[in-house]
């Protein structure tokens, strides 16, 4: 009987403890990195209508990044332009992560007052709220800057919508002659501006770290020659026109030097040119092989470059002061055209497999390689300044086009396709 009593007591005690410990603990592992739903309400408008549809530019930016899924316009429950008009419960039903509202007011037909707010729909809190005054010509750029703010607030990453792309276009005339142009566009490929035209090839544009200058290779004088051109004034100067090849310029992180490939000694080798003094220092000494396409590692005095010293093109690392080079890539028998992510984590390159060329990334710490693209004719990888995407050139219908891929390969984007051959893209740094 005592035993039974004890058992009964035990049951009561355990039932009590279960009652007291009523908070369930559940572990959530996994989730997905799917695009975040976001509600973008078309901005309200007062006075003369803005020449740029800001909300549309923002919508395209965010959708194009692959990180956001803007709700279709027809799903928007209401069209608030002020916080007081927002009913968060409505927006919660749409399961949208954020809500963006805004207003554009024309002040005098020339200047616009723009304000926008981003809300956390579930908490009913404002995450960002800003007000600007810009001339009509600054509206598109402002839209990209607003996209950057939204992107940053919701992903934690720096947005790169307000950056620029440089690339080379080629037009073949009816008589077979070609016209080359160095162009600069917004990061979404829109608003292209030509900064240089030539009947001879233009190659390898590369941005200075401050985004104020471009270096490139031009054949305009009948041979390869490296130029540096200022973006605002258009002023330019030839910085390397030695005998033989002058190619593959790359700005040092401090913007004071250019790494170049020169064959003035008979064989293509890597050199470093001091732009202020004009001093030239040879970095590689390997007359049996081609050494080219040097890029600087961020916050470092080292260079990565392509060399066929091992028989097949691979990527090597060397101090910009010279010395022995060490091999970096080991996967596959063809790796070239290195670019290093601004955060220093990844190496992007052209990875050749059986006569096809893909964009691949190598984790510089672990050495793990991931192939990101599929077309097989991909070249010239260039990292976005936030290290999230890689811009590259590929071919579609026999013509060069620009595309971008996220570092994990999940997001694939195509940029500006207008039947014009586009090649050799370079993503600008973030404008300060």
């Amino acid at each position: 009987m005592t035993k039974r009593l004890l058992i009964a007591l035990g049951i009561i005690v355990s039932a009590l403890s279960w009652q007291a410990n009523a908070e369930l603990v559940i572990e959530i592992t996994g989730g997905s990195e799917a695009a975040l739903p976001i509600a973008l309400v078309p901005f309200g408008s007062e006075g003369s209508v803005s020449p740029v549809d800001l909300s549309e530019v923002i919508r395209n930016d965010l959708a194009g990044s692959g990180r956001f899924a803007p709700l279709p316009q027809q799903d928007l429950i209401s069209q608030p332009h002020k916080q007081a008009e927002v009913n968060f419960a409505d927006w919660r039903l749409l399961r949208s992560e954020g809500l963006v509202i805004g207003n554009v007011t024309s002040i005098d037909g020339q200047t616009y007052d723009v304000q926008f707010q981003l809300f956390d729909v579930y908490k009913g809190q404002q995450l960002v709220g800003k007000r600007y005054q810009v001339p009509a010509s600054g509206l598109r750029r402002l839209a990209h800057q607003i996209s950057d703010q939204i992107y940053h607030a919701l992903t934690g990453e720096v947005g790169v919508f307000a950056t620029r792309l440089a690339f080379v276009t080629v037009i073949t005339n009816a008589d077979g002659s070609k016209r080359f142009a160095l162009q600069v566009s917004d990061a979404d490929g829109a608003n292209p501006r030509t900064v240089l035209q030539s009947k001879e090839p233009i190659m390898s544009p590369n941005w200075s770290p401050d985004g104020e200058r471009l270096s490139y290779v031009s054949f305009e004088n009948g041979k390869t020659e490296v130029f540096v051109q200022e973006m605002t004034s258009g002023r330019r100067s030839s910085v390397a026109s030695f005998k033989g090849i002058n190619s593959a310029p790359s700005w040092s992180p401090d913007g004071k030097k250019l790494a170049l490939t020169l064959s003035k000694g008979g064989n293509p080798e890597i050199y470093v040119l001091n732009l202020a003094s004009g001093d030239l220092a040879r970095v590689t000494h390997n007359s049996q092989s081609i050494d080219t396409e040097a890029v600087w590692l961020p916050n470092s005095n080292s260079l990565l470059f392509t060399s066929d010293r091992g028989g097949r093109p691979q990527i090597y690392k060397v101090s910009s002061d010279g010395g022995n080079a060490s091999r970096v890539t080991f996967e596959g028998n063809y790796n070239s055209s290195p670019d290093v992510s601004p955060d220093g984590r990844y190496l992007a390159m052209v990875h050749g497999v059986g006569g096809k060329y893909f964009i691949a990334v190598q984790d510089l710490a672990s050495g793990a390689v991931q192939v990101l693209t599929e077309t097989g004719r991909d070249e010239s990888p260039s990292f976005a300044p936030n290290s999230s995407m890689i811009l590259y050139a590929t071919e579609r219908n026999g013509k060069g086009v620009l595309a971008a891929v996220s570092v994990d390969g999940r997001i694939q984007q195509r940029l500006g396709e207008a039947g014009i051959d586009v090649r050799e893209p370079a993503w600008s740094p973030i404008r300060k």
Partner: protein, 373 residues
Amino acid sequence: MKNTSVENITAGSSSLLLHIVLLGLFVVGMDSQSIPKPIAQHEQVEIVQATMMDENNVLQEMVRQQEVEDKKRNEEQARQDKVDQRLEETQNELARKELEFQDQQERAKIEQQQRETKAKQEQEKIAKLEQARKQEEIKQEQAVAERKIAEEKRTKADQERKVAEQKQKQAEQDRKKQEDLKQKAEQELKAAEKKKQTAEADRKAEEDKKAAQARKVKAEADKKAEADKKAAAAKKAETDKKAEEARKVEAERKAQVAEADRLLQDSLASEQQEQESKRIAGVVDQYSLMIKQRINRNWLRPSISESGLQSTLRVTLLPGGDVKQVTVVKSSGNAIFDRSAESAVYRAAPWPQPSDPKAAAALRDFQFIFKPE
């Protein structure tokens, strides 16, 4: 991006020759009018020569692409929603069937138990009845004994009364006789004056003697009656004491039986309670899993390279499955990651809720630990 082409490199050192040939071709192909004109790029003076690109086409194409992609995404979303919905319905259906099955088993179990309990109680009852019957017999026996004692007492009392009556009668007769004698003596006194005093004295002596005797008899009778009474009282006290003891034993036995009964009932109730707890725990487990899956589906994690992030949230639900309150108990240190967890909790609302009110009540307060893997 770099001007040494892919082909040059693949061809190895022989490509250098090709390169030089190419350069030669470029030199030949150059004419004096090809010197390019750099174009100033003032921010205010936007485009200089958009000769090469039809911007309109670019934009239209982009819009078209965007629309195709949007449509695809929408369809995919719709399809996903459908799949989600079907999944959830299937889960709900499964949960409902499982509950039904459990209920049936539960009922069968409880019925079986009730049958066993009933049988047990029946036996218990019979035993109790038997006990009661025996008790009744003892009682009756006692009653008979008591009756006998009472009768004996009555008989005795009767006899005593008769004796007393006879005595009284005797005394009466005696008194009459003496009165007669007295009268005779008075007559004799009248007749014989002289003899009177001595006769008187004799008579008186005789009288005294007789009275003393009568008194003596009476005292003896009284004494006997008293003793009888005392004996009867002692006997009664004895009997009472015995009955009291029997009652005590009986009460004790009854208390023990009652206690045993109560314990049995308690243990049965506890067992039932335990079964009920088990059943509720089962439902809670099932719904916990459903909630976990639902939140997992709704968790749109930011792609953060930082590893080892973990957020702990405390969540309170409203009846009906809507979120009442979310608190970050332990932050991951990354605000974006924390917010993605909070949003997942809200996005999953309304959460699945069991129809059983006890189980639903147990699914009100949660702690969630969010981690990518």
